[in-house]
């Protein structure tokens, strides 16, 4: 195993905060947890706090000795249920087979991030954010239970052992399950912080025993998603949206829609015209029967080609959008004189297209609101809902359900479809439940895409084949309404390749369009890794160097041991340098995304001009591996998700209208195109980092780099297969 010690791994969204810890017996269930004091007061105003005031609640132990972990992060497929449960169970020494997980209610005071007053799941931060907090919660519960046993048996707590939810006195052989000690344990006051296990003592974390807790429900059709909610008196709503971004309702004729038996009402809301009906199919038929005239005065009318030309011109300074410098080093004077390598990239808008299209159940009765939905950032959804109904954000009740995929789509700053559902439920009133359903077409046309980007690079290389000067212009919408366009250049800014280049001049140009951009699995890395990793292979090729060898020098010179280690491990496992059959080539990519470092090597060929990937070797450093099987699952899924986008992804606009609105015209990866993925996890003693996103952005450049070997041609745009 290579030495991978990195003294300062990046840990986003993670700061250590003082924990207030305690316990209480609520309804016969021992509640233990850690809460964040004095933050999020504004956002939590109106929130109902359980009797155990001041204490959060992460752990419930029931009379059958089962342990329920309350999960503050949303389960959208990434396996966070398993990871967080394992962290608690490890310190608690619970019986893993009796550990269950339930979703936390929306309550930023109890379940906010340890980094600030926001409850949500984003940035692959779930495990990292909860690591210290849930270990403390587990250790606290363990302390209270052990102390309770010690009091009962009149022995010292230090003499007792705990295993699989049973406390044992080795001297006498007496045993007691947690469940027998609940009342007594509730009286114990635990210290504010407790010593935690040395990772070497872990018996659950990092083992193959950490498995998903939700598989059984998901293979029997019994997992309950938002789409599945059926309530008494519930209405189903669909909304006719403007076909163009920025379009508004001018007028509508609902006479035909209202003739349909089962259509209850038709009315205008800010985002379009809502049809509410007794059931889904009737709502759809009602919507199909609507005639709506749209006001396109402020709508985006351009086609994809128009936007590309605009972006291309912008990158060359030919439009009135001024660039903002995101990176500058060295003296540019004269550095770009002489022969320059010019490389451009055209990367498209990408839809998330989770299998469960957007949906929400809302009940509004005056200022009382309840949402049942796969809320990804509960605090933001509460605030946006409160703005519609005029209540306090903290009073918005949210029952968070598992998401049928998200990939960033459900973590929207405007809470677009949730707000839409709240408007409808407010109009309906009386607390009557409304289930808003988006069709696949609504979803694909609904925006919040990974923004398209255009990159223009001017690079000068020295005699050794390495860049001496690197000018980098990126054109991309910003994901944040104010402040610098940091996500747009995430992965370019701070890249080891720029760090290794003496003169760097990086600018980001930020167009404002009516097409809303959004967070898309791996965010900035989803485009920047393609740009940086494919560029570096082109430079290596010009220098006549092996791309892995070329990279090694850079990582050594820029002190990137984690990059070097994942690269070396992947190269070793892939048999880099050993010949493949004719027509096949290997391509490599390395990236760091949300604190996790990944290298992937893909085996690629061309069949009828279309890239085919048969195998991907992945090496990852995500700190301490909490749930090994889920790390592998995320790598497999990430490769497939990234490959799908690389091969086919791209929202096509004609006259401002999205053309590819369902899977027939917007193809995605299917099983016959999915490669074998082999994941190798570096041993690490560093705190864990996330796995939901970092494996996504490497496959596109890995393929491009293999094609560079096979064809000699660089890839200047994605997707590889343009429809």
């Amino acid at each position: 195993m290579p030495d991978h010690a990195d003294p300062k791994p990046r840990r986003p969204f993670l700061t250590r905060r003082k924990l207030i810890v305690g316990g209480g017996l609520v309804g016969g269930v021992l509640v233990v947890g850690a809460g964040i004091a004095n933050i999020g007061k504004l956002l939590s105003i109106g929130a109902e706090v359980p009797d155990s005031t001041d204490f959060g609640q992460f752990i419930k132990i029931a009379a059958d000795n089962s342990v329920t972990i309350v999960n503050k992060h949303q389960e959208m497929g990434q396996g966070i249920h398993a990871g967080l449960a394992a962290i608690v169970a490890e310190e608690l020494d619970a019986d893993w087979s009796k550990v269950r997980v339930e979703a936390a209610p929306a309550n930023v005071k109890l379940y906010g991030s340890t980094a600030g007053p926001l409850q949500g799941t984003f940035g692959s931060s779930g495990i990292a954010n909860s690591w210290d907090q849930l270990r403390q919660a587990g250790a606290t519960a363990r302390y209270m239970l052990v102390q309770a046993a010690a009091d009962l048996w009149q022995v010292s707590a230090g003499s007792l052992t705990v295993r699989d939810g049973i406390i044992t006195d080795p001297l006498t052989g007496r045993t007691a399950p947690f469940s027998e000690l609940l009342a007594r344990a509730a009286q114990i006051r635990a210290p504010e912080t407790l010593p935690l296990k040395d990772p070497k003592q872990f018996t659950l974390i990092g083992t193959e025993r950490v498995r998903r807790k939700d598989s059984r429900a998901k293979i029997t059709g019994t997992e309950r998603y938002t789409q599945d909610i059926q309530l008494n008196d519930m209405m189903v709503a669909m909304v006719a949206h403007s076909p163009r971004f920025g379009g508004k309702v001018l007028s509508f004729d609902d006479s035909e829609a209202r003739k349909i038996v089962g259509v209850i009402d038709v009315f205008e809301i800010p985002s379009g015209v809502a049809v509410v009906a007794t059931d889904t199919y009737t709502a759809k038929r009602g919507r199909d029967a609507l005639k709506v005239d749209w006001d396109d005065e402020k709508a985006e009318m351009r086609s994809s080609e128009d936007l590309l030309k605009f972006y291309r011109d912008t990158a060359q300074g030919k439009t009135d959008i001024k660039g903002d410098r995101f990176e500058k080093s060295g003296n540019p004077e004269g550095a770009f004189d002489g022969e320059l390598i010019e490389i451009t990239y055209d990367l498209p808008y990408l839809a998330h297209a989770p299998m469960e299209p957007m949906n929400c159940v809302a009940m509004v009765n005056g200022r009382r609101v309840k949402l049942i939905t796969a809320s990804q950032i509960q605090t933001i959804d509460q605030v946006n809902t409160a703005l519609v109904v005029g209540c306090l954000p903290g009073s918005v009740e949210i029952e968070t359900l598992p998401a049928g995929g998200s990939f960033g789509r459900r973590g929207i700053m405007s809470s677009d479809y949730i707000v839409e559902c709240v408007h409808i439920a407010k109009h309906v009133g009386g607390g009557r439940p409304v289930k808003l359903i988006w069709t696949r077409e609504d979803d694909m046309m609904g925006g919040y895409y990974r923004p398209m980007s255009y990159h223009h690079l001017w690079i000068k290389c020295g005699d050794d084949g390495y860049a001496t000067a690197w000018r980098h212009h990126t054109v991309v919408q910003s994901l944040t309404p104010v402040g610098p366009n940091t996500p747009g250049v995430e992965g370019i800014h701070g890249s080891p390749y720029l760090a290794a280049t003496p003169v760097v001049d990086g600018k980001v140009f930020t167009p404002k369009l009516a097409i809303p951009p959004g967070f898309w699995r791996s965010v900035g890395a989803s485009h920047s890794v393609m740009v940086m990793e494919h560029t570096i292979d082109q430079l290596a090729r010009r220098a006549g160097r092996d791309p892995i060898d070329y990279r090694r020098t850079i990582y050594i010179n820029t002190h990137k041991p984690r990059w070097l280690n994942v690269l070396n491990l992947a190269a070793e496992k892939a048999g880099w340098g050993q010949p493949l059959e004719p027509g096949w080539a290997r391509g490599v990519a390395v990236a760091e995304c949300f604190g996790t470092t990944v290298a992937q090597i893909a085996e690629v060929t061309l069949i009828d001009g279309k890239p085919k990937v048969r195998r991907v070797l992945a090496a990852v450093d995500c700190g301490i591996a909490v749930a090994r099987d889920q790390i592998r699952a995320q790598m497999e899924g990430s490769v497939c998700f990234g490959l799908s986008a690389a091969l086919y992804g791209g929202v096509i606009l004609e006259g401002g209208v999205v053309q590819n609105t369902n899977f027939d015209t917007a193809p995605v990866l299917r099983i016959d195109e999915a490669p074998v993925v082999e994941t190798h996890i570096l041993a690490s003693g560093n705190p864990p980092t996330g796995m939901g996103e970092p494996g996504v952005p490497l496959i596109a450049p890995a393929i491009a780099n293999a094609l560079l070997i096979l064809t000699g041609q660089p890839t200047l745009f994605l997707p590889f297969i343009k429809s």
């Binding site: 959208m76 497929g77 990434q78 498995r211 998903r212 939700d214 598989s215 059984r216 429900a217 998901k218 293979i219 029997t220 059709g221 019994t222 997992e223 309950r224 998603y225 789409q227 599945d228 059926q230 189903v236 059931d279 889904t280 199919y281 297209a353 989770p354 299998m355 469960e356 299209p357 598992p402 998401a403 049928g404 995929g405 998200s406 990939f407 359903i437 069709t439 696949r440 099987d629 889920q630 699952a633 497999e636 899924g637 990430s638 490769v639 497939c640 998700f641 799908s644 369902n662 899977f663 027939d664 995605v668 990866l669 299917r670 099983i671 016959d672 999915a674 490669p675 074998v676 993925v677």
Partner: protein
Amino acid sequence: MPYTIRLDGKQHTVDVDADTPLLWVLRDSLNLTGTKYGCGVAQCGACTVHMDGQPVRSCSLPISAVGNSEITTIESVSGPEAAAVQASWLKIDVPQCGYCQSGQIMSAVALLKEIKVPTDAEIDAAMSGNICRCGTYPRIRNAIKDAAKSLI
């Protein structure tokens, strides 16, 4: 108008329009929500059920076309192939978000009823109508092979 369908071993009568897709009859009329809506145009397979043992996309099958055929959904799928598929799915922890998995399992069960030990190409042919956006495809393939092995 009323339609009587044979579903999961029982007769059910529903009062819906003739063109109502079976999917919405299952989900909205009968509250059998294990069968999912994903695309509505028979492209993603999330709505896969069995009609007389054959996998069909219920989102594009009007209730009037069901006739006297026996419909089986994820809620009641049974038999040695179903047991083997679900056991292997669990053993390998196939699901991620899980939303497509009802449909994946219905397609896989139909495949194994048809072909005892499917080749990779036969798995591709039978399963390529089922999309998984989480990318559980490698595990689906492994789980089908594992289930086939357990049935021998």
